[in-house]
Symmetry: C2
Subunit: 210 residues, 2 copies
């Protein structure tokens, strides 16, 4: 098991509960080092999970009006802020990596136990519940959060003239299939996403669908 | 004036309002390239504003229980998600850079006009209002958000055995003075922050106060 970052440099005594919370908050600094496949639009490097999670929060703030069902914006933002935490120990599983996706659920469940276990028990349960809500997509907020998670890399791929759309074996049909969950949360955003994919296909930034 | 990122690669037509929103959401990718002085705990490099904003959102989620006044957690998270956007054009002004801080207000106001001006007028006003709320510190949510903004780099400085506390001219008294706004939002968090600063001073990670 990985040593928590504060193992290197323990905090002075600030009380048991707050001490656990601060150790957790320092540990999650590691999310800034989990690299995704997506290239940034603003620089020539890959995006990390912390940047990605922040970007989703911005997208919820600006695009909430397109949700097909009413959503609590603050709660939806909380979901996207925590949704990738488990990747601190489980790593990022790229959307077009079918092999990685088979073991993803187990790896992420184990990571959740370990990471949320750093928190006081009541908060460990709360954060776990937020993550389960996001993954389960049973609430309007979770569906919208997931839609942002699929729309954001699509915008970055557009700016990179293809980006991860160039993954071997991926076609415009693959992209449409993986992105279609956007339509479970928002008809207008799915229309827009489809237009962007279609134009990428027309320009040869993704292999043509059948 | 800087060209928006989408100037390089315009999106296909998705309607005027949504088009403006997506252009804004791509433009804010630049927040990931605005470097702060703070060193990461998890890697040997400086933190950027997007990572920092995400980290504050996590801190609000976990530490909200310490707010001296009741706060709306979702709204507080929204404030921290948008609080540094103006630095996309105005740059980061380090906490211990007195010269930069004199022109900071004007530079950031101009940046806000330019950046939020990419959005439809109603949303430009909304985001501007969120930023003004954060800066004004007149609501309990804004005071707590600002407290997180001061507490987070303190944790990173602790992990770096000093970090920006080693800035020439800075002493433990300077640090205490700049961090004291934490106490405007949360007595227990200010007690904890004071203990961390005092222990840093004892270890020689910051020059002694008078």
């Amino acid at each position: 098991m990985e040593t928590p970052l504060t193992g290197r440099n323990p905090l002075p005594d600030v009380g048991e509960r707050l001490g656990a919370q601060l150790r957790f908050l320092i540990e999650v600094d590691k999310l800034k080092t989990v690299l995704r496949q997506s290239p940034l639009a603003a620089a020539s490097r890959r995006e990390n999970d912390a940047e990605h999670s922040w970007h989703l929060a911005m997208m919820v703030t600006v695009l909430a009006e397109y949700a097909d069902e009413p959503i609590d914006v603050g709660h939806t933002i909380t979901l996207v802020v925590v949704h990738d935490l488990v990747e601190i120990y489980a790593g990022d599983t790229p959307l077009y990596d079918d092999e990685g996706r088979e073991t993803q659920e187990r790896r992420e469940r184990e990571a959740a136990e370990k990471l949320f276990g750093l928190l006081p028990a009541d908060q460990a349960r709360e954060l776990r519940a937020l993550w389960d809500e996001f993954e389960g997509r049973k609430t309007a907020e979770a569906r919208f959060a997931k839609a942002m998670d699929r729309l954001q890399p699509l915008l970055l791929n557009w700016m990179a003239r293809g980006g991860t759309w160039h993954t071997p074996g991926v076609t415009a049909d693959t992209v449409r299939a993986r992105k279609s969950v956007i339509g479970d949360a928002s008809a207008p955003l799915w229309t827009a996403a489809s237009a962007i994919i279609a134009e990428g296909e027309r320009r040869g930034w993704v292999a043509p669908g059948s």
